[in-house]
């Protein structure tokens, strides 16, 4: 049956939001605990949304994830650094929105030039994940470098290198995960979703 594209689009986005919420609250699903680290898989959902539905929807799903991260940093933080850094909406929301935008734009251009869908998806996913890590790192450095007051008034000067180290050790496996998993999921879904 033919349905109105707008209604279909809305319900798809709603289910992506639901997946992000579920990933946030089901253990072993949204976060893989590896020793003291916990590697997220939620960026995969954002990247898949960007690859399948386009940059606007990718940015939207990313924004929802960012908003949940922001709220959780206050009420139920996922890691010890969350209450220190993610209580700043610039650090928690902006990088996540950019995952969606960067992934979709990179995919669009690489696919246009090289006509190789798999390659385009892998590069776009890796870059999308990288944008998140680099931006979170960069923003933490920029905002807290000069001993600026943060939410919990923790002394940042000595902590900064540790926090940066944590973000980098999380970022590398997350990038590999995105590059491998996101294209595998997005490829069949691109066939499933109808083109506007």
């Amino acid at each position: 049956m033919k349905t109105n594209n707008k209604t279909y689009h809305m319900s798809i986005l709603a289910l992506f939001i639901a997946i992000v919420i579920v990933q946030n609250f089901v253990p072993l699903f949204g976060y893989i605990p590896v020793g003291p680290l916990s590697i997220t898989t939620i960026h995969i959902t954002v990247i898949v949304a960007a690859l399948v539905l386009g940059w606007k929807d990718g940015a939207f799903v990313g924004g929802v994830w960012g908003l949940i991260t922001f709220i959780r940093a206050f009420v139920s933080p996922t890691s010890p650094i969350a209450p220190i850094v993610f209580t700043n909406p610039i650090v928690s929301i902006v990088p996540r929105i950019l995952i969606g935008i960067v992934t979709a734009v990179v995919f669009y251009f690489i696919y246009k030039w090289w006509k190789n869908k798999t390659l385009a998806m892998v590069i776009a996913s890796v870059l999308g994940s990288l944008v998140n890590t680099v931006l979170v790192l960069g923003l933490i450095y920029l905002l807290y470098h000069g001993q600026a007051a943060n939410f919990y008034k923790v002394d940042m000067g000595q902590l900064l290198p540790y926090i940066m180290g944590l973000v980098v050790t999380n970022g590398v496996p997350e990038m590999i995960l995105a590059g491998v998993v996101a294209p595998l999921i997005a490829a069949p879904l691109q066939k499933l979703v109808r083109k506007n």
């Binding site: 049956m1 349905t3 109105n4 707008k6 209604t7 279909y8 809305m10 319900s11 798809i12 986005l13 709603a14 289910l15 992506f16 939001i17 639901a18 997946i19 919420i21 579920v22 609250f25 089901v26 253990p27 072993l28 699903f29 893989i32 605990p33 590896v34 590697i39 898989t41 995969i44 898949v48 206050f74 009420v75 139920s76 933080p77 890691s79 010890p80 209450p83 220190i84 939410f151 919990y152 008034k153 923790v154 002394d155 000595q158 902590l159 496996p173 590999i176 995960l177 491998v180 998993v181 595998l184 999921i185 069949p188 879904l189 499933l192 979703v193």
Partner: protein, 264 residues
């Protein structure tokens, strides 16, 4: 699966339950904001008494709130310890390398602990006494002014309601897929990092495919019931602003004034 924050709603008919969800949402955020003004033991004990009063008024047993703190207790202790060991100032009690325990660090650590507890209690109170769909309605109502700048308020609110509606469904589905893959020999949460990363793939692909199919069914169901966008849609649950809601705002204003008076 009942341990998550959303959907932990406990039905009841207390003063807090009957408050307008818009008032509860705004006041909870406001409370988190003013907690950061407190900076001495008088102001913290005042806020703690106020929070306990709110919990009493909700007629929900305190054990639910303590359960909300339990999964976070290590994280709170870690943050407090971090604060104690790394901040300096005041009288020095203990010193070893870069670690030091000072008067300033200890008091700050205690304040951070109080802040955590207060925020967790207040947000737990919000989610325990307000159904998720009520919260979605409240968000829609609060976002309405944004329609002036062409922000798609109805669409966002409807998507939020659909998403909240499908969270339990998707959780059941995730559990089903996990069990199905376990039966095929996948080990979740064990093994090396690569093994764990591999185990995510057979979990995510079925979930995404079934979500896309669900979205298609949902769109057909909505259209066959005549859904045509948000304009002119009437509501089944209508939010009503009552005197008690205004009183709640007045109460919070009094608390704010007291806080400003008590803090340093």
């Amino acid at each position: 699966m009942n341990k998550l924050i959303l959907g932990r709603y406990i039905a009841g008919d207390s003063l807090i339950h009957r408050l307008d969800p818009r008032a509860k949402l705004v006041l909870s955020f406001y409370f988190v904001g003013i907690i950061f003004m407190a900076n001495n033991w008088q102001s913290f004990s005042m806020l703690l008494i106020f929070t306990l009063g709110c919990i009493l008024a909700s007629k929900i047993s305190l054990s639910f709130f303590l359960k909300g703190v339990r999964p976070l207790i290590w994280l709170i202790i870690f943050t407090v310890a971090l604060q104690m060991l790394f901040s300096s100032g005041g009288q020095m009690y203990w010193h070893w390398g870069i670690f030091k325990i000072s008067e300033f660090g200890v008091t700050n650590g205690l304040y951070i602990f109080c802040r955590f507890i207060l925020i967790i209690f207040m947000s737990t109170l919000l989610t325990l006494s307000t159904a998720p769909l009520q919260l979605a309605d409240a968000i829609e109502s609060l976002l309405k002014p944004l329609k002036a700048i062409k922000f798609p308020v109805y669409e966002i609110a409807l998507m939020l309601s659909i998403a909240l509606r499908f969270v339990p469904t998707l959780m059941d589905e995730t559990a089903k897929i996990m069990n199905a893959q376990r039966a095929r020999g996948v080990n979740f949460g064990q093994g090396s990092l690569i093994k764990q990363m591999q185990s995510i793939i057979p979990l995510l692909i079925p979930l995404f495919v079934s979500s896309f199919n669900r979205a298609e069914d949902l769109a057909i169901a909505m259209e066959s019931r005549g859904y045509q966008g948000g304009e002119g849609r009437t509501k089944y649950r209508v939010l009503k602003w009552q005197t008690t809601d205004t009183m709640a705002f007045v109460l919070f204003a009094v608390v704010t004034v007291a806080l400003v008076y008590l803090k340093n």
